[in-house]
């Protein structure tokens, strides 16, 4: 029994065990401080569904050796453009969502290709450059949101009559088109967004199937040993570009899933820091800078979002202060830091 426990801890890794126990204790403590467990669980699940695809988007680039995609905002921007364009075209309901997705994917392919070309020229420094590519593209789009000729009165500033608002509601368009598909309630407090989870599962399946194809296997080979991959006749640069495009496209889809559940499109500086929670989540799930699996994505998203949901309600009721934001900063960045410093240790 003891051996089994030890091997489990070893396989899962200490950080996950600690965070997992912490989360568990939060759930256990919740009823005692007047927080409903079913509400919390439902909130956690909704958030997992919202963020899952964005976390999934990190997998291809990690697998192809491009590191953690801190440039995720680039994909998110493609998603935002898709979202506002679909509203501008006034397509409602599921078709609207699909239109948004089609535009977003098309744009993400183009942006991702250019981004991939750039990252191929800076091998070894991808993460730092990715961060700043993300930041500068968000800043560039800030100007674009002001200037682009969108006309829909639901989106532009009331005065002046031009420039998009900072937050745009998707109500009346495609609010919860995925979430509410086959969703059900258990009791008055537990809500399960079935459609969103089906979609997330579909995305995971696509990703899984992709890594079983020839291209997917070649990509993993590039990530684990580029020299060997080259000797096998794999076009390393092409594989890396494919992975970056894939990551950007998933990022774009991910933000659309997020928005349809959240109800708002956040423009301007909204996507600025969105890569960090996703990165922290996948690392929390046990991924490292050069290896990530679907299990890492699912476990990590659940743990991370669980902590985000539970700390404000539970910790605040216990300590009478709002420390959740600080805890979030420390946990997520601590996790990234742990992953960045870990690889060298293993090497030795």
């Amino acid at each position: 029994m003891n051996d089994k426990l030890r091997s489990f801890i070893e396989a899962a890794g200490w950080p996950r065990v600690i965070i997992g126990l912490f989360l568990l204790s939060l759930f256990v403590a919740a009823p005692f401080v007047g927080v409903r467990v079913d509400t919390s669980l439902s909130d956690t699940l909704v958030r997992v569904g919202m963020n899952g695809v964005m976390v999934l988007a990190l997998v291809p680039m990690v697998q192809s050796g491009c590191g953690l995609n801190f440039g995720l905002p680039l994909g998110i921007i493609a998603g935002l453009v898709g979202a506002v364009t679909s509203i501008e075209m006034d397509v409602r309901g599921l078709p609207g969502f699909l239109v948004a997705m089609a535009i977003a994917i098309a744009l993400a392919v183009v942006l991702g290709y250019a981004y991939g070309l750039l990252l191929n020229r800076v091998k070894g420094d991808e993460m730092m450059i990715a961060t700043y590519v993300g930041f500068s593209s968000v800043a560039l789009m800030c100007m674009a949101w002001l200037l682009l000729p969108y006309k829909s009165p639901n989106m532009i500033w009331g005065y002046g009559g031009s420039g998009l608002r900072t937050t745009i509601s998707v109500q009346g368009y495609w609010l919860k088109v995925l979430s509410d598909f086959m969703s059900f309630n258990v009791g008055p407090y537990f809500y399960f967004p079935t459609g969103m989870f089906l979609f997330f599962a579909l995305m995971c399946f696509l990703m899984w199937a992709f890594f079983k194809t020839k291209t997917g296997t070649a990509m993993t080979a590039v990530g684990s040993n580029p020299e060997f991959a080259r000797a096998c006749g794999i076009d390393v640069d092409r594989m890396r570009i494919v992975s970056v495009v894939l990551s950007t496209v998933f990022g774009a889809i991910g933000i659309l899933v997020y928005q349809q559940s959240f109800g708002f499109i956040q423009l301007y500086m909204g996507p600025f820091y969105m890569a960090f929670p996703a990165v922290a989540a996948i690392l929390l799930g046990g991924a490292s800078v050069n290896k990530a699996s679907l299990l890492n994505v699912i476990v990590g998203t659940f743990l991370f979002q669980g902590i985000l949901t539970m700390t404000p309600s539970v910790i605040n009721s216990i300590m009478q202060t709002d420390m959740s934001e600080v805890i979030r900063i420390i946990v997520s960045n601590g996790m990234i830091l742990y992953a960045l410093t870990r690889k060298v240790q293993v090497k030795r």
């Binding site: 801190f70 750039l118 020229r121 800076v122 091998k123 070894g124 420094d125 993460m127 730092m128 450059i129 961060t131 700043y132 590519v133 930041f135 500068s136 800043a139 560039l140 800030c142 100007m143 002001l146 200037l147 960090f276 202060t321 420390m323 934001e325 600080v326 900063i329 420390i330 960045n333 601590g334 990234i336 830091l337 960045l340 410093t341 060298v344 240790q345």
Partner: protein
């Protein structure tokens, strides 16, 4: 043959100074558009060079040691701010207050620098992204200390510093007591313009310190490590220790830099000031033509002037050009981030090219 050589030389000169050249051109377009008077701009630059140079200079030593841009300088800035919070509480004003703040902040900065150095030693080859994330992480701890610790664990007596709930420091702190105390120490006026002479003297002294430091044994060791860690190691240089020292020096200097910066500004934004310090300092250094591997004092001053020229001019230029000041505001954010992205990418690209060239040269003349 000779012609081609000259052409190549000019080409190389243009490429290696591409960033400053672009900025000079950009300013040349934007200054007339903005409609500011030259006198205003010169005064503004004078203040801003005094305010920011020290922070930017603190980045030089880690670059010398081959550790790239020290995004961890925000750690030092945080230490400086803790010092400033405490002296505002104790109502120590003027130059003694500033010195006391520096004195309190130094051990904190040394400790944080030591942590940063130790962490970076475990992440060789990706120092920049690691120090960047470390900045966020320590920011969390800083918030924990300042937002929850101060007033509870650390006694704060002044009510105007503390949030209305009884603990935690307010968002903005008025540093009236030490405002301009260094800048106005030696009053000097040229025409209508006031010159913060004492600050310039401190900066000059610090430049001399860096020049001297590069010639010491430690400075030479750092340079050797910056060139090749393995070679330095086999030459008997304690690589890890020297790298930690480089980061500690940088962090402590950033701490002083932040104190100088805030004494000029006069108000402290408790939870944001340090974040911006790092980004602006790094953007300024890169605009001055520095790269991740090579930076000089000249780069620092050129960078600060060009960056802040754009900083002052672009909102007005945006307003005159398109009628929206907000656009200029976003433009300047875009430029700060974009320039860091481009310089980092150019540097990494160049390094990759160099590596390829080195590999090709091993093959001999056949190709």
């Amino acid at each position: 043959m000779k012609d081609a050589n000259v052409k190549e030389k000019i080409q190389r000169l243009l490429i290696s100074n591409a960033v400053p050249i672009i900025f000079v051109l950009l300013s040349a377009v934007a200054i007339p558009l903005s409609g500011f008077t030259p006198q205003y701009l010169i005064q503004e630059m004078m203040t801003r060079v005094a305010r920011n140079s020290f922070l930017v200079l603190s980045l030089l030593i880690p670059i010398l040691a081959g550790m790239g841009l020290n995004f961890g300088m925000v750690l030092g800035a945080m230490a400086g701010q803790i010092g400033l919070i405490l002296i505002s509480d104790w109502s120590v004003s003027g130059l003694p207050g500033m010195l006391l703040a520096a004195l309190i902040a130094t051990p904190i900065a040394v400790f944080l620098g030591w942590i940063c150095g130790t962490v970076l030693n475990r992440a060789k080859g990706r120092e920049m992204v690691t120090s960047y994330i470390l900045g966020f992480f320590i920011n969390g701890l800083y918030q924990l200390a300042v937002l929850y610790g101060m007033g509870k664990l650390i006694p704060i007596r002044k009510a105007e510093l503390v949030l209305s709930r009884g603990y935690g420091i307010r968002n903005a702190i008025n540093l009236q007591g030490i405002r301009h105390c260094l800048d106005d120490l030696i009053p000097l006026k040229i025409g209508d313009m006031s010159v913060p002479l004492a600050t310039y003297l401190v900066i000059a002294a610090f430049c001399l310190f860096i020049l001297w430091f590069q010639r010491t044994k430690l400075g030479q060791d750092m340079r050797a490590i910056g060139q090749d860690m393995a070679v330095a190691d086999s030459a008997g240089i304690p690589v890890e220790r020297t790298r930690i020292i480089a980061i500690i020096i940088s962090t402590v200097l950033a701490c002083y830099g932040q104190i100088i910066f805030l004494q000029n500004i006069g108000t402290m934004n408790t939870y944001n000031s340090h974040d911006q310090a790092g980004m602006f300092a790094i953007a300024a250094l890169l605009i001055g033509g520095a790269t991740v591997a090579r930076a000089t004092i000249g780069n620092v001053f050129l960078g600060v002037v060009l960056f802040h020229l754009m900083f002052v001019v672009s909102p007005m230029a945006g307003k005159q050009l398109i009628g929206q000041a907000q656009l200029g505001e976003y433009f300047r954010v875009f430029v700060s981030y974009g320039i860091i992205a481009i310089s980092l990418a150019l540097h990494a690209w160049k390094r990759q090219k160099d590596r390829e060239r080195a590999r090709r040269s091993l093959r001999g003349q056949a190709a």
